[in-house]
């Protein structure tokens, strides 16, 4: 059962414009959300995160928005650059899902391939 969903497998955006990547989750126990970027032949790298006490977190060109009532979050990239072309994974974490420690596991979406064209 996919608890974190990224329903758009791909997104194509022109350079300079905004990229919006969406993520939905089903488990209300999730309280911390992360975005990862993955280039081919590399492991995912952390991009930005947000906790449930916030509805927005901004870091440079990247902003994550969280709508808890809708169980939805989105990653905005403004302005988009060709170097942003990668697969973006949404992940969620919740303490109630712990595996024998105080740290809960991460649940990942399937990823969205972003292509930014000149």
């Amino acid at each position: 059962d996919q608890q974190v969903k990224q329903n758009s497998p791909s997104l194509s955006v022109q350079e300079g414009r905004i990229s919006i990547l969406n993520c939905d989750y089903t488990n209300s126990m999730f309280d911390y959300f992360l975005w990862y970027k993955k280039y081919p032949a590399e492991g995912p790298t952390f991009l930005i995160s947000i906790s449930s006490i916030k509805d927005k977190n901004e870091d440079g060109r990247f902003t994550v928005f969280l709508n808890k009532s809708a169980k939805h979050l989105s990653l905005h990239i403004v302005p988009s650059q060709p170097g942003d072309s990668a697969v973006y994974f949404c992940a969620a974490s919740g303490g109630g899902l712990g595996r024998g420690s105080t740290l809960g596991r991460l649940y990942f979406g399937r990823g969205t391939q972003l292509t930014v064209w000149p």
Partner: protein, 117 residues
Amino acid sequence: SAVISQKPSRDICQRGTSLTIQCQVDSQVTMMFWYRQQPGQSLTLIATANQGSEATYESGFVIDKFPISRPNLTFSTLTVSNMSPEDSSIYLCSVETGDGKWVTEAFFGQGTRLTVV
């Protein structure tokens, strides 16, 4: 942060053989995690590797198929045993940091792209 070295980066293996993937972290960590990403699928946790005890496997994964070693706090191996084409995936090791309650960040190796023929 943590730097993770994973090898091999890719391999093509014959059906029925086994492959051992190594993961080295540049700092001591209590838990290391092994993930699998099948084509078009999300990252799926295989198991958690604890130093000094048996690995904890997620539903659908068993020790006979994916034996794990964790000899010290900076190193782990995952073996994919008796491989079949369905095992063709990217395998990733990971470590996590947290604030004591939640996982707040995870670091990944570069992955091992396995093709079973």
